[in-house]
């Protein structure tokens, strides 16, 4: 029997998380082959969850308008949708049900994926902690939604839930007494229930607003293709297996042989096979664990970006490009009429995307020590320039390449050779495009830029900004004198070193076979001051 061994000084949690990350990466890379990064649902689980939530809201509004909240009316009015108005109300009801299941599924996958990628501590603590209560709200809303139908399944869930709640020492009288016999409940119960089923999702939406509050350019919706495909899937499901009510609730008998919804109502069988105490221990234990996870020992946080007031001209590009809203602009203390970037230490991811956005981060500046407006202490642009100059000077061969990589993506160290220099960055997004021109004008024949796959950037927007900068769509632009056929962008995730090496070799072959027809931009030798 295989035994899970942990290397010395590595916790079991770290091993589990690392294996989960590898698994996610493998599946995501596989799915990229079918969907592409931008349309890969697994890379956009949060946005997909929001899309399902909007489906729930839209279909729920219609269901609310036709709902009769009397005991018999609630069952009949919903049954009417499925039986008599199947072409509209029935489909919307089915969509409502299946979208709720899909929402729960992607919510849990989103939770698992963010944990696997280690996105729950440091600057992500806020998003993680604000996300945990949303799971409770989603389940409370989902379980309550099943009660509204007031069929046998609703009866089962209502009794099972109240029996579970009664284990807690909160209620003076057992809440399950409300469901003893058919005459135990009255019409107002459903009025209250409907308001709860509307109120809790409203709290959920408010919580989601807080959840994404500290990130910029939130993906509120997935790509149009993903939306259309998932909506079509749910519509097909609604037509093939329309949601139907069970027989009306009858509290005089136990509901048996229930077509249970295992996404939402699994907690009831779990209570039956264990005990209310075990289920509450599991639920509260899991919640406490999720809240505590960010506070467990983790590697030290990355150094954060540092602003140099003398070189910050207040252009706001770093503010615009920061994926985590860690940069704000304030009045410059020394330059009248100018602004200055201010870094929020709690929000800064230490990715360096701001340094890549800064117009002062150009290696063509003649100062011996290159000081830019905003920089990373652990990898200043000055050090990048020195490394580039040193490594390019040592290159030898017919076709000299320079590879800029990302420490979160495929490892580029194995690519380093006599004719290939490799410079790994905190994130590909911290690469100022002028460094590519600088490399080509310093004698390199081709430049490779590699980073995480589309939709898989560990700092959300690094690869996207890089692509846009290189395509002259985003400042700072790559200057047009750089021949694009001497530049190759290769997305490659962690663990895809082999594929990256093959792609680099292919690029080298193109350069050597003179498929690349352009000439290098004019040579440049920095004037040193």
């Amino acid at each position: 029997m295989p035994v899970l061994r942990t290397p010395p000084n590595v916790s079991l949690h770290a091993v589990l998380r690392g294996n989960a990350q590898t698994l996610f990466e493998s599946i995501e890379n596989l799915l990229d082959g079918f969907f592409g990064g931008a349309d890969n649902p697994l890379r956009h689980l949060g946005a997909l969850g929001l899309f399902f939530l909007w489906i729930l809201v839209a279909t729920g509004l219609y269901l609310y308008t036709v709902l009769d909240t009397s005991i018999e009316g609630v069952y009949n009015s919903i049954g009417y949708l499925s039986q008599e108005q199947w072409y509209l109300g029935g489909i919307l009801r089915s969509l409502h049900r299946y979208a709720s299941n899909a929402f729960v599924l992607v919510m849990m996958l989103h939770l698992l994926r963010e944990w696997a990628y280690g996105r729950y501590h440091g600057f992500r603590l806020y998003s993680w902690v604000t996300g945990v209560p949303l799971i409770w709200l989603a389940y409370i809303s989902g379980i309550g939604g099943y009660w509204i139908v007031w069929d046998r399944l609703a009866q089962f869930s209502a009794i099972a839930t109240t029996e579970l709640l009664d284990w807690l020492p909160f209620f003076n009288e057992p809440t399950a007494r409300n469901f003893l016999m058919p005459d135990s409940i009255n019409d107002r119960f459903f009025t209250v229930l409907v308001f709860i089923h509307i109120g809790i999702p409203l709290m959920l939406i408010l919580g989601l607003w807080a959840h994404v509050n500290r990130i910029s350019r939130v993906d509120y919706l997935p790509s149009r293709r993903v939306m259309l495909a998932t909506l079509a899937s749910l519509l097909a499901l609604a037509l093939l297996i329309p949601a139907q009510s069970q027989a009306p609730a009858n509290l005089a008998e136990i509901a048996t042989d229930l077509p249970l919804n295992w996404f939402i109502l699994f907690i009831h069988p779990l209570t039956d096979i264990t005990s209310p105490a075990a289920v509450w221990a599991l639920v509260f234990g899991a919640t406490i664990l999720l809240f505590a996870l960010p506070f467990l020992p983790h590697p030290a946080a990355r150094p954060i970006a540092v602003v140099d007031p003398a070189n910050c001209n207040g252009c706001s590009r770093c503010h615009v490009d920061c994926p985590y809203e860690a940069i704000t602009m304030a009045v410059h203390p020394d330059k009248a009429g100018h602004k200055i970037a201010i870094v929020d230490a709690d929000n800064c991811a230490g990715c360096g995307i701001c340094a890549g956005a800064c117009p002062s981060s150009t290696p063509f500046r003649s100062q011996e020590r290159l000081v830019t407006g905003i920089d990373m202490p652990q990898q200043p642009v000055d050090a990048m320039r020195h490394q580039l100059e040193a490594e390019v000077a040592q290159l030898f061969g017919n076709t000299k390449l320079l590879v800029f990589g990302c420490e979160k993506g495929a490892d580029i160290s194995a690519l380093a050779a006599r004719d290939t220099a490799a410079i790994s960055l905190l994130c590909t997004g911290m690469l100022p495009p002028s460094f590519i021109e600088y490399a080509l004008r310093s004698g390199v024949d081709g430049v490779v830029v590699t980073g995480c796959r589309d939709g898989g950037c560990d700092f959300r927007l690094g690869m996207q900004w890089t692509r846009e900068r290189l395509a002259h769509q985003r400042e700072p632009y790559l200057r047009s004198l750089v021949p694009m056929d001497r530049l190759h962008v290769i997305p490659a995730s962690r663990g895809e070193g082999m594929q990256l090496a093959a792609a680099v070799q292919e690029f080298r072959t193109q350069l050597e076979n003179q498929t690349v027809t352009s000439s290098r931009p004019p040579a440049y030798s920095r004037r040193r001051i």
Binding site: G33, L180, L237, T256, L258
Partner: protein, 170 residues
């Protein structure tokens, strides 16, 4: 990946997603109790008794006129003893304690008992003031339980105290 293969792959994967959602939305079916079993639910919420003392005329005279209540009743309530028997055999016995920090709230109980469907002699006895011996509420009846049927044992002074309630099966 070639486009047609990618499209076919997408259709298969979205189909698998829909199939996964569709299956677990209703399957597998869940059976909470076996087919031949009925359910007896014991559920009651009742305020236990308390021993009040009649104040003497001297005591009343010493009190302000607006507070001269003839009885001196303690705030706390008595525990309630409850015994259930099925066909003369002990089924459940409990002492229900009053809720509240001052023990002045209702005493409650909620229990489920799964029994084979059939006819039974059901007996419930309750003493809501343990200062007194014995049981001041007793209910006995022959009950017939059909499979999956629910019988409720409850207490309501307006219904004569302990009572058994069976609804009609659908």
């Amino acid at each position: 990946m070639a486009k047609p293969a990618a499209i076919i792959g997408q259709i298969i994967l979205y189909g698998a997603f829909a199939a996964f959602i569709g299956y677990f939305a209703t399957s597998p079916t869940y059976k909470q109790i076996p087919d031949d079993v009925a359910l007896i639910k014991l559920s009651m919420s009742h305020l236990g008794g308390r021993e009040c003392r009649k104040r003497t005329p001297e005591e009343l005279a010493k009190m302000p006129p607006n507070m001269r209540a003839p009885l001196d009743c303690p705030r706390g309530r008595s525990d309630i003893k409850l015994v259930l028997e099925l066909d003369g055999k002990p089924m459940y016995e409990t002492i229900m304690q009053p809720t509240g920090l001052s023990k002045d709230g209702v005493s409650t109980v909620y229990k489920r008992f799964e029994v084979k469907a059939g006819t039974y002699r059901l007996s419930a006895k309750m003493n809501d003031n343990l200062v007194n011996p014995g049981f001041n509420f007793v209910k006995e009846a022959e009950v017939t339980l059909q499979p999956a049927q629910v019988l409720v044992i409850d207490f309501n002074p307006d219904k004569g105290g302990l009572f058994f309630q069976q609804g009609r099966k659908g």
